[in-house]
Symmetry: C2
Subunit: 197 residues, 2 copies
């Protein structure tokens, strides 16, 4: 294993072939049923070579997840306060990792991956309340966070799963309105008022 970040050409090719085979196989059966043997056979890579790089299939998936999450995190971190474009950028990032995302966000997906994505999105969201309504308790903030982040993630998942996807901008628009016109006012007027129906 190479401790430095640089990768050999053969390493690059080997891992790429393994990734392609994994995505192909997970299209046919759940990840839990994918064995190292069939994976390496499909990828035409010696089984020992697999173990030279990875501990097991899940270890490999984790690497793939992290490759995406790095992109995802950068995409989100790039923009500062321009929160209106935020959600659109999320969609674009998912679009460029569609194969992987469909696997990890679908049924038979990986909950820990979803949790990691949520945590990244949450960093952006929680700042919205923190800035707008500074005197909000931690408990309340946590609830708002989990609701909005969960709502956004769920919509992303549905979008990825859908075969004839609507344009990213359309959904981003709806989400923005729900959050900015729906949730934010409720949060802003939170202190000491009852439900007004």
């Amino acid at each position: 294993m190479n401790t430095k970040g640089e990768l050999n050409r053969s390493v690059r090719n080997t891992k790429k072939r393994l990734r392609e085979s994994l995505i192909k196989l997970v299209g046919e059966k759940p990840l839990s049923a994918v064995t190292v043997s069939e994976l390496t056979e499909d990828a035409d890579v010696n089984r020992s070579t697999f173990y030279f790089h990875y501990k097991d299939v899940y270890d490999m998936v984790t690497e793939m997840e992290n490759l995406f999450l790095a992109d995802f995190s950068v995409a989100l971190g790039a923009l500062e306060q321009k929160s209106h474009d935020t959600i659109t950028i999320l969609f674009k990032c998912l679009e460029s990792h569609m194969d992987l995302c469909r696997i990890l966000l679908g049924a038979n997906g990986d909950m820990s991956f979803v949790e990691k994505m949520k945590r990244i999105v949450e960093l952006k969201c929680s700042r919205i309340w923190k800035d707008a309504v500074p005197d909000l308790s931690d408990e309340e903030t946590a609830i708002f966070d989990s609701f909005v982040v969960g709502g956004v993630m769920s919509t992303l998942q549905a979008w990825v799963r859908d075969n004839d996807r609507q344009p990213a901008e359309a959904i981003a628009g709806v989400l923005n309105r729900l959050v900015l016109d729906g949730i934010c006012p409720v949060v802003a007027n939170w202190q000491g008022n009852q439900r007004q129906v």
Copy 2:
């Protein structure tokens, strides 16, 4: 296998022991790492007996999931339009299946289980828009659904995961306000108006 729903006493005991052992083992390692051998050994059940009832560990988990989902579905279906209490009832139901829910809703959880829960919650939610705003397109309805259902589920997950949980009523109150005062008005005024900030 018994085709009728009634269960032998020995079957009840066997399955109960297996369930207890599974919950114990999943507390120590991810579900994917739990083998039939160690499960039956811990439960003090012969391995053949396991295969007499289940195809594999996932098959057994599916049965456990369905036992809960039946309760969950009944709890939700019981109330008619009294949407204010809906979310509280959700929490109570989770509370009585806490061990299982912590496993299935946590990291290392089961995405397909979350999807099944979502579908049940969605039946309740989508009716809210359908009744209030009849002339909403299917695409828009789908987005509202996935956002709100995802938000509710995410909050439930966070609540289950938390070790010192707030009382169910507190969170239910926040969720109700977010949905009824935040989301619903936006949906109701949806037709032909721009964002008003």
